[in-house]
């Protein structure tokens, strides 16, 4: 009879946490692999608009980024009007030509026709600035552009 007697133990046995590091490491590796380090430190607000007819930019290394928006909290000294940012620095419209030339020089020659300019512009910026940027891009013959947007409906948010 006593063979089937249950062992009586008052407290529940402690759950082994020995595999916890393994789980955490797994998560860690996922995030390490998925992380893309930002290329530029943004000095401007960059709240992208929404659109749903988007196409993906497939060749990351063939994209030149132009940011625009109004200077963020820490850079108030640059005013409240929307500004352009090229590579870590606030810039003027006339600097775009030089920027494009520099980007082109850094790429192999046969890839230059495939370069795309991605415009990452804050949704509250005025079209005047964008018009100026586009005009400048036309002057240097950088005609492929992409208005970077978040995926979502244009109406409701």
């Amino acid at each position: 009879m006593s063979k089937f007697k249950k062992k009586k133990s008052g407290a529940l046995p402690a759950i082994s946490t020995a595999s916890l590091p393994d789980i955490v490491f797994m998560l860690l590796f996922f995030f390490m692999v998925a992380t893309v380090m930002r290329e530029n430190t943004l000095m401007i607000e960059n709240n992208l608009p929404f659109a749903d007819q988007v196409e993906k930019l497939d060749k990351k290394d063939l994209v030149m980024y132009i940011y625009a928006g109004k200077p963020s909290e820490n850079f108030k000294q640059y005013g409240t009007e929307a500004r352009i940012q090229l590579n870590d620095k606030l810039a003027d419209v006339k600097d775009i030509a030089a920027f494009i030339a520099a980007e082109r020089a850094a790429k192999r020659e046969e890839l230059i026709p495939f370069l795309t300019t991605a415009l990452k512009v804050d949704s509250d910026a005025n079209m005047g600035l964008i018009g100026d940027i586009k005009q400048e891009l036309r002057k240097v013959n950088a005609l492929k552009i992409n208005y970077t947007t978040k995926k979502g409906s244009v109406f409701g948010r």
């Binding site: 007819q53 196409e55 993906k56 509250d124 036309r138 005609l143 208005y147």
Partner: protein
């Protein structure tokens, strides 16, 4: 000296260290946005010859500084724009377009090849609205192409394009490319922006 066995290292704090790193990466991760609306700017060279385009083949969209929309001289809400653009493009007024489903209104566009959407904005227009309008106009073209592709190839245009970009798609890519180009030719994107 007597040889002593090395004491076991306590791995209990490993989890803490891993957590610390994990939280660091969680906080610093920014998922980069890499999708958007592709456009092509017109080249700079000025052509001397003026192209004469009939007024009925132009669909004017005007965006003013207060983000209001004026389409063909009438105020319009953004949500109605897509439908109006589809109707204009698909009109097929002169009967030369045998795949159009429009009303064949003689006052509207002749055929999709001649129909041009002209978008004009002011300097004070906000970018958000401009993108919304661009999006709706592109959506109008995509809608027509989807219908056309569905009728001819039994697949929507967006699906065909997705297949074309997909590396693992098993079908014949050259054939698919031809089909895509054919549909693009039937509904060409003619979106001009006035400076």
């Amino acid at each position: 000296m007597a040889k002593r066995a090395a004491p076991e290292v306590n791995a209990g704090s490993m989890a803490d260290i891993a957590f610390l790193l994990l939280i660091f990466f969680l906080v610093t991760t920014t998922i980069e946005v890499d999708s958007g609306i592709n456009r092509k700017l017109p080249p700079m060279e000025e052509s001397d010859e003026d192209v004469v385009i009939k007024q009925k083949n132009i669909f004017t969209v005007l965006l003013n500084g207060k983000d209001q929309l004026l389409v063909e001289d009438e105020l319009m809400e953004l949500k109605d724009l897509r439908k109006a653009a589809v109707e204009f493009l698909d009109n097929g007024g002169d009967g030369s377009c045998n795949y159009c489903n429009g009303k064949k209104d003689p006052k509207s566009s002749d055929n999709p090849d001649k129909a041009i959407i002209s978008l004009k904005n002011e300097r004070e227009t906000t970018y958000k609205t401009y993108i919304a309008v661009q999006n709706e106009l592109v959506a109008a073209y995509n809608e027509l192409r989807n219908i056309r592709a569905q009728n001819v190839h039994g697949k929507s245009f967006t699906e065909m394009e997705a297949n074309y970009k997909d590396v693992n798609w098993p079908g014949n890519k050259e054939r698919l490319k031809e089909k895509i180009d054919q549909i693009k030719l039937e509904y060409p994107q003619k979106l001009s922006e006035v400076q």
